[in-house]
């Protein structure tokens, strides 16, 4: 009996991610959700610019590579053209919360019926560890060598909270993948974000608090501890907006 196998929605290509990076886990969770919902044949993914730039080689569904930050706009075009297909973006913090903030906010406020997987690891990984819009106050990066000074660089962007303030989006949640319990919950939430799209409910974004041992300069173990001790207190986990659930409560 097979007890563990690779999701069908992942190709056989080897990931290029660094040891201890949590992108692998998140890719797997997305693929498992696609498998579980039986939507691989109609899924279309949009890859970002950043560490996950080559996600198009890893997901077995049709894929489009977007310019930096533009994935929600590209996904909008795809979804408007093929409303029966299931369209998702997979983006990092620099991509989604910095250069692509306008595309993110407006796709959300239009309640565009797409699924957004937002990986927040508080750093620009691909370019070698620069300060991200989500880097924590005091966090040392290549471009904040003395620690993020909020009087100069401002404060981190809390994407889930920010988007929840909009009337438009259907579902906004933040999860983490630093321990088994959190991974299991992340799986459930990511599946819901896809299920929402299948049901035509609209824009569903899952922020995944993630780690970057390489650019944080930590062992994978210590990086997961840092997620627990520093990241999650600043970026609390939970469902921030679930319009359908809210409506149901109203009825009751």
């Amino acid at each position: 009996m097979t007890v563990f196998e690779k999701p069908k929605s992942l190709t056989d290509a080897e990931f290029h991610y660094c040891p201890g990076c949590t992108h692998g886990i998140i890719h797997r969770l997305v693929a498992e959700a696609i498998d579980a919902l039986g939507i691989e044949g109609r899924a279309i993914g949009v890859a970002p610019v950043g560490c996950a730039v080559m996600a198009y080689n890893y997901f077995a569904c049709d894929m489009v590579e977007a310019a930096h930050g533009r994935a929600p706009a590209v996904a909008t075009g795809i979804k408007r053209s093929l409303p029966e297909n299931i369209v998702f973006t997979y983006q990092g913090d620099g991509d989604l919360a910095s250069i692509g903030m306008a595309e993110t906010v407006h796709a959300a406020t239009r309640n565009e019926n797409i699924t957004v997987i937002f990986v927040n690891n508080a750093i620009y990984g691909m370019t070698g560890g620069q300060m991200a819009p989500t880097s924590l106050p005091g966090q040392v990066t290549q471009t904040s060598p003395y620690g993020r000074d909020v009087s100069v660089a401002g404060y981190p962007v809390k994407v889930a909270e920010l988007l929840s303030s909009l009337d438009g989006p259907e579902f906004i949640a933040r999860v983490a993948v630093n321990n088994v319990k959190n991974v299991r919950n992340a799986k459930k939430i990511i599946e819901k974000a896809f299920q929402n799209q299948i049901e035509g409910k609209g824009f569903s974004l899952v922020e995944v608090v993630s780690s970057c041992p390489t650019n944080w300069g930590m062992t994978p173990d210590n990086a997961l501890k840092w997620v627990e001790e520093k990241m999650i207190p600043y970026y609390p986990l939970g469902v921030f907006k679930d319009r359908s659930a809210g409506k149901e409560e109203d009825k009751a």
């Binding site: 569904c61 049709d62 894929m63 489009v64 590579e65 408007r80 053209s81």
Partner: protein, 355 residues
């Protein structure tokens, strides 16, 4: 067919695009092209199409990229400053070998410039406004009729060569009303394409729409392949109109609204006994270089008439290998030369180069 209607140039673009089977339009408001968006906003919801006012020109062109990746006809329109913002997306679309239509109803620049007509985006349109080695097919309408005809042609060329096509109009043609015979309506085509993302349906390997090639040998190969296609386009798709060139000793070169003005000037010059003709480039890329080179064998000089500080003149000089003098009649900033101004330049050319 055969029925003429009175339409604004911008509206003719929109109606012609719908008749060409385009069902997706993304735009952002900017003068003087707003009528395109307004027309689409009215019509698209009635025919099951998409009109979406994007949050920016950048978002609009990336929505275009998304639809183009699915293999459907799609367009955006804007004016000069907005077209600058679209350059990133245009480069990605060209680098991914996707078809689409981009309309630029030009206004004066640089910067915020003005809102009056201009042709000063010639360089941007024909030399590659975004990064990397790529080309756009650039069509230059000079009447409302051509706005309609070239919109239909643009979609066909984009699909044929898998590349973005730009309709390079200007504020005058966009805003003016003329009788126009609209092209026949065609239904949108939903044929499977071996590159489009439509979902694998578990029946085929996944399609990837992409412009990233990290192996330099692969990226170089992609560029060479693309340029083989461009070479074919240069051989087969250069279009121009020849006016009174049979016995011409002098040749005016002008496109778009400048060609309309120049035609009057050429006619007036003929009345004065000056043997002048005009070559009007209809495609700006590919530039009708062969036609100009042919003319250079018999004419004594060329006059480039432009609503810019002189951009196309560089291509005219290249086309004739500087074998004949090429002079310039220019207005900028939203100003249009009068036929008299062009006539004066024709007289100077004719006098200056010994009749």
């Amino acid at each position: 067919m055969g029925n003429k209607v009175l339409m604004k140039g911008n509206e003719a673009i929109a109606e012609s695009a719908i008749r060409a089977g385009c069902r997706h339009y993304f735009g952002y408001p900017i003068t003087p092209q707003t009528e395109v968006a307004a027309y689409m906003a009215k019509r698209m919801p009635k025919i099951g199409g998409t009109f979406l006012q994007a949050e920016s020109e950048i978002a609009a062109i990336n929505m275009v990229y998304g639809v183009a990746a699915t293999g459907r006809r799609v367009m955006t329109s804007s004016s000069s400053p907005g077209i600058s913002l679209k350059q990133e997306g245009i480069s990605y679309i060209a680098g991914s070998d996707l078809p689409c239509l981009i309309v630029n109803v030009q206004r004066g620049g640089p910067g915020l410039g003005g809102i009056q007509p201009s042709q000063s985006d010639y360089f941007q349109a024909t030399k590659g406004g975004g990064h990397g080695d790529y080309r756009l097919i650039v069509l230059a309408p000079s009447s409302v009729q051509e706005m309609a005809d070239m919109t239909a042609l643009a979609f066909d060329l984009a699909d044929k060569y898998l590349m973005p096509v730009m309709l390079l109009a200007d504020g005058t043609i966009g805003q003016m009303m003329e009788p126009v015979e609209l092209p026949e309506a065609r239904e949108p085509q939903f044929t499977e394409k071996d590159w489009a993302v439509t979902g694998t349906k578990m029946r085929r390997a996944h399609h990837i729409v992409n412009s990233l090639y990290l192996v330099p040998e692969e990226l170089e190969k992609k560029n060479f392949e693309r340029f083989e296609r461009y070479a074919r386009i240069e051989r087969e798709e250069a279009r121009f109109e020849s006016f009174m060139m049979e016995d011409a000793e002098y040749c005016v070169v002008a496109f778009g609204i400048a060609a309309r003005v120049s035609k009057n000037a050429v006619t007036a010059a003929r009345r004065e006994g000056l043997k002048v003709g005009m070559i009007r480039p209809v495609t700006l890329w590919p530039f009708p270089s062969a036609a100009l080179a042919e003319a250079a064998k018999t004419v004594k000089g060329f006059l480039s008439v432009e609503l810019s500080m002189g951009q196309m003149i560089e291509d005219v000089k290249l086309a004739v290998s500087c074998s004949r003098p090429v002079s310039l009649c220019r207005r900028a900033g939203g100003m249009i030369p009068s036929p008299d101004e062009v006539l004066t330049k024709i007289r100077e050319m004719a006098g200056g180069y010994e009749r």
